[in-house]
Point group: C2
Chain length 145, copies 2
DNA sequence: CAGAATCCCCGGTGATACTG
DNA sequence: CAGTATCACCGGGGATTCTG
């Protein structure tokens, strides 16, 4: 397939699809946080759990599994008496994390503009609502039973 | 608040949060595709709808609204007899889109490695399953009523 | 300590039909 | 043409409990 069938799958053939593909790996709620935390060398499950405030053990486990599956995190089990497991970000994950910086930087630099744009939009929106409801209607609170 | 209360909100204080913030703007299923399509100059609703294959009119409208609200897309209405509306990506959106490239590039360059990692993981996973089910059990299909 | 299992909720998304 | 309005789904994510 895709060879002659002319599937309608080519808007921004590569770039756009590739971006979504990257998001599938690191777009989950905790993905980036985990990779970031595991970038500073091996870190144990409990440490990870503590260093990422809002996360539940469940989501930590699940996200770690997908990251491990994709080769972004290595899992090392030390068969000591209280089980001890260490996680480390792979080189691949480090590259991914680095590729993330541009987006983070953009967000940091422009979240003020975004907020302003929202305020402006919401303001005009509210104004349009008023004139759409027709001025007369706004006076009629009509406290009649 | 946040002054002395020592809120547990500082894993990767800025970077990680900023990334998630960026995703809130462009992480939706169609966000990037729309910005990409609107980067090549003004484009009409129907054109947009055609150039992004899988999208429904509903999601196109909704996503355009949020993008407009965040100042990433400008909406221009021409009061002609058949209504004509044009959308254009703002400079802000262009910067955002540019900041996206690093991630897209990473995905393009490494999706092979990812696939390989997955295959390896799934292979070992299946193997572990077998030996965990205990060899004997695998022989017992037990066709008894 | 490091999970696995279960239940439940909610928001993003899709399908369909109607409108100015 | 360019939307809006409804309904319905389903999968990510959270809270809680159990285990080797």
């Amino acid at each position: 397939m895709t060879a002659g069938s002319r599937l309608p799958d080519d808007v921004e053939p590569d770039t756009c699809a590739a971006f979504r593909d990257a998001l599938d790996r690191v777009g989950s709620k905790w993905g980036i946080a985990i990779i970031a935390a595991a970038s500073d060398g091996p870190i144990r499950f409990a440490e990870l759990h503590r260093s990422i405030p809002g996360i539940s053990r469940r989501m930590l486990t699940l996200t770690l599994r997908t990251l491990e599956r994709d080769g972004l995190i290595t899992r090392t089990v030390h068969p000591t008496v209280p089980p001890q497991v260490e996680y480390t970000a792979t080189a691949l994950a480090e590259e991914l994390y680095a590729s993330t910086r541009a987006l983070s930087a953009w967000a940091e630099n422009n979240h003020a503009k975004i907020a302003a744009a929202r305020a402006a939009y919401d303001g005009n929106e509210a104004a349009r609502q008023e004139e759409h409801t027709a001025p007369e209607a706004r006076v009629r609170a009509d406290p009649r039973p």
